[in-house]
Amino acid sequence: MTDHLSATTLSALADGELAAEQLETTNQHLAECPSCTSNALQSSLLKSAMGKTGQRFAPTHEFQARVARQIKGGLPLQEVSRLVDSRSSNRGSLLYSWTAAAAVLFVSIGIILVQHNWNRSATASVEFAALATEACDQHIATLASNASPEVISSDRHTVKPWFQGKLPFSFNLPDNLPNGTILDGANLTYIHGLPAAQLLYSIGKHRVSVYLEQATGDGLPRNSKSSDLSIDHSGFHVFSFKTSDLDGIAVSDVDPARLSDLATMIARAQN
């Protein structure tokens, strides 16, 4: 065997990045070359090990709270203080300093008030866009894999109890579903690090994922006036809803109205 697989090819193989033709050629080579097969295995092991090892540093709760406060509250107050201090420190007259400080403070507060509403809506949009991306990615991964759901059942009395002890919350499934909608099963999953139920439905030939997670206040934008949000992402419709205890997000390429009907029905079942 003279031409072994390149390190780049082995890496791309481990990363699932080879095009169909390259993959076929590579597989043919691997079938005949124990050395490259061994190296391919090592590449996969190394990738997996680095994935685990690389997940190492976690932000403190204090830091997370601080960032949340800052991006939800517009300019940080320290920024205002710093602005005032820097203006006043170079003035000879105390009265002038205070006047200047008050003026700066007044202008700053004005800016903050103007920006506040924009920031709130921008924050909500950023959070929702991130959530929609993650939910879409998971939905696509579910569609791509041929794996069966962890619990396969069209019976809500089977699916709901399956989550007992797996989730730190409970939820209800609607008695009746919209016409043509079938419950296929469910998976236990994680949405931005929190445990969630992924309910799998079919509407005709369209697959739907509905994610339910415990309301935390920092997931879906709960401070937005509108409780329901929708967005189109990568060709999929994403529809979010909230109840008093749960956040929900539904993803599918089905007609948005039918997706919304299903989501609304699930939301109502929680009351």
Binding site: A7, T8, T53, D232
Partner: protein
């Protein structure tokens, strides 16, 4: 906060300091908020915000220090071509799978090896193996051709393997 843990993890790996990592993440979020109008709905949000993090890192103190290094061999392959020929294939002379399994199980050794990676190699590995990004997304975050992403990932893994074998070559400088 969505993506905050992921952003912080990458920031810490790059800065190697908790306070610097916090500053970097904080600035990233503020920039993301300010520039949210430039984000195109329906495009890859994760890649977009990681790109902001990475660009912010490049202008930070630790990022500027890392940026000063230049690598000859990477330069040869940065033209946008994948250039797999740079890695003579049979040159991948690894140990027995059994030995490697044992070494990979030693998480401390792997951590140490990752810490020794130069920033350009570390960042592609973190984005690929930890964040699970595709090459196209990584290219978007780093602003480099996909071929360069491929070669850097291969080099990073080769470096890690060498380090695990105790053959670390410390100063292979690479441009960010």
């Amino acid at each position: 906060m969505p993506l905050l843990p992921s952003l912080y993890n990458i920031a810490f790996w790059l800065c190697r300091h908790a306070t610097d990592a916090e500053d970097l993440v904080q600035e990233t979020f503020l920039k993301a908020l300010r520039g949210f109008g430039t984000f195109e709905t329906g495009t890859n949000f994760k890649a977009w915000i990681f790109r902001i993090l990475r660009n912010t890192y490049l202008t930070s103190k630790s990022g500027l220090a890392a940026k000063r290094t230049v690598a000859l061999e990477d330069e040869l392959n940065e033209s946008g071509e994948s250039g797999p020929s740079q890695y003579p294939e049979a040159a991948v002379d690894w140990q027995t799978p059994e030995m490697n399994l044992i070494q990979l199980a030693d998480q401390a050794a792997l951590q140490e090896a990752m810490e020794k990676l130069p920033a350009p190699l570390l960042e592609v590995i973190l984005l690929c193996d930890v964040e699970g990004m595709k090459y196209k997304e990584i290219a978007m975050v780093l602003g480099i051709p996909i071929g360069t992403v491929m070669s850097r990932i291969a080099r990073a893994r080769a470096s890690i393997r060498r380090a695990l074998k105790g053959e670390w070559e410390p100063s292979r400088e690479i441009r960010l």
